[in-house]
Amino acid sequence: MEFLIDRLPLYLGGAWVTVQLTVGGIALAFVLAMFFGVLGTARSGLLRAVSTVYVEVFRGIAALVLMFWMAYALPLLTGFQLDGRFAAILAVGLNVGAYGAEVVRGAINAVPRAQTEATIALDMSWAQRMRLVILPQAWAQMLPTFGNLSIELMKATAVAFLIGVADITAVAEQMRQATGETVLAFSGALILYFLIAQVLIFGVRLLERRANRRLGRTPPGGRGLLALLRPPALTTSGGAK
């Protein structure tokens, strides 16, 4: 224990980098997921095809391959060296964004057709319909899977260590080489990752409760703060990394 306490500042430094990668990645993935997810519900076949290409390409390539390509191939092609952290954020964001786009598309399509008809009867434009009616309703359905995806993204940021970013994993590896204390060095890293995941789970739960309340539903798992601490249910389709 003392081993870890002595080195806590180092670990926290690594954790701070991991948090940056996670937050940056989630922000990018969210924007991409919303954009390509909404595009995937367009009436125009061309727009839908654009969405499909993004989803299939970036879902199909491993985040690590993507990151190596950004970190090592892109500078040779463009002469522009990406910061390692930026390359990692791009890689995990593009990858998870592709999964997220499918979630968004599915959630929009799951909003009953009758809701769209009601917006037509009120003469809302496409943009008004999406913003005021469809997306707010789809949001509650997206959130649980978004929660799982955000944890997958957080885990995926560990690959940044392989291109020299000083995240939690890098600190642990450094500790191991310096001290030979393999078990302690890596346990510390795993616990930090676990804690970050718990924060993400808790945050998404809060969002879910708010979203369900807005739809006039009782949140699954019941009311009360304790319900937030219950372990998350894993959605079994589409939510894979």
Binding site: E117, A118, A121, V133
Partner: protein, 263 residues
């Protein structure tokens, strides 16, 4: 009634609607005068609801044209020809039409107030204050003033439907389409909704097209009743003619079956 009627607000001219091989409307001609309240009755699948959905632009005609206020509605002029209307053309014209659905279709992500004010604010560009005032006034009309900040899920079916009626009226439509608005309600909630509609019929001059199985209501509020069968008008007349002395055998048997079902 001839489709070229200069007085007509709505005119269907040889309208055909097919879904695949199924012909729902078969060369239909009829028109509705301004302020007229018309009830469409007939067995299910006879095309009544499709007429409302065509007017609400939820469906497109297969053949024929629909005119509203003497202007093409299903089609738009391009040069000297009529082509199927595009979204922008429809959007400009359907503002004067409102619809109430069988399943209410309130927005579950909004309170009652928001349900009533979002479209007026964003579509009609009313100020929040104006929209709020209109919402409050309409909720009073439907007898739900105390529910303005409630959530749709907290309301009974009958209350939800009254909110849906208020929502449609908030757009100040000239034409109101009512699609089996009491069919999804428990029997004891039907009367409240019908009372609201009676009040609207008595106090406004909104043109109403109403698909219903409530024959008593149809008799009270409508000027004219159209009996549909297999995509065509089987018989039409005043409520007294249709309900008191139907000529067609199909009308008689339909009315009998509805009465037997306890309506």
């Amino acid at each position: 009634m001839p489709p070229s009627d200069a007085q007509a607000l709505i005119t269907f001219d040889q309208v055909v609607k097919r879904f695949g091989d199924l012909t729902v409307l078969d060369h239909l001609d009829f028109s509705v005068a301004p302020g007229e309240r018309v009830t469409l009755i007939g067995p299910s699948g006879s095309g009544k609801t499709t007429i409302l959905r065509l007017l609400m632009t939820l469906e497109r005609v297969t053949e024929g044209t629909i005119m509203v206020e003497g202007e093409p509605f299903s089609h738009m002029p391009r040069g000297d020809r009529l082509v199927p209307a595009n979204e922008a053309y429809l959007s400009a014209r359907r503002k004067r039409i409102g619809m109430v659905f069988q399943q209410f279709n309130l927005f579950p992500n909004m309170t009652v107030r928001k349900n009533l004010t979002e479209a007026p604010v964003h579509v009609l560009k009313l100020s929040r204050a104006e929209a709020d005032a209109r919402a409050e006034e309409l909720l009073e009309l439907v007898g739900l003033s105390d529910k303005i900040d409630a959530h749709p899920t907290q309301l009974s079916g009958g209350q939800q439907q009254r909110v849906a009626i208020a929502r449609a009226l908030a757009m100040r439509p000239e034409i109101l389409l009512l699609d089996e608005v009491t069919s999804a309600l428990d029997p004891e909630l039907v009367a409240g909704v019908l009372d609201v509609l009676r009040t609207i019929a008595e106090t406004t001059d909104i043109t109403m097209l109403c698909v219903t199985h409530e024959m008593g209501f149809a008799r009270d509020v409508s000027h004219r009743v159209l009996m549909f069968d297999e995509g065509r008008i089987a018989e039409e007349g005043t409520p007294d003619e249709i309900f008191g002395d139907p000529r067609e055998e199909r009308t008689k048997s339909f009315l009998k079956s509805v009465l037997d079902n306890g309506h």
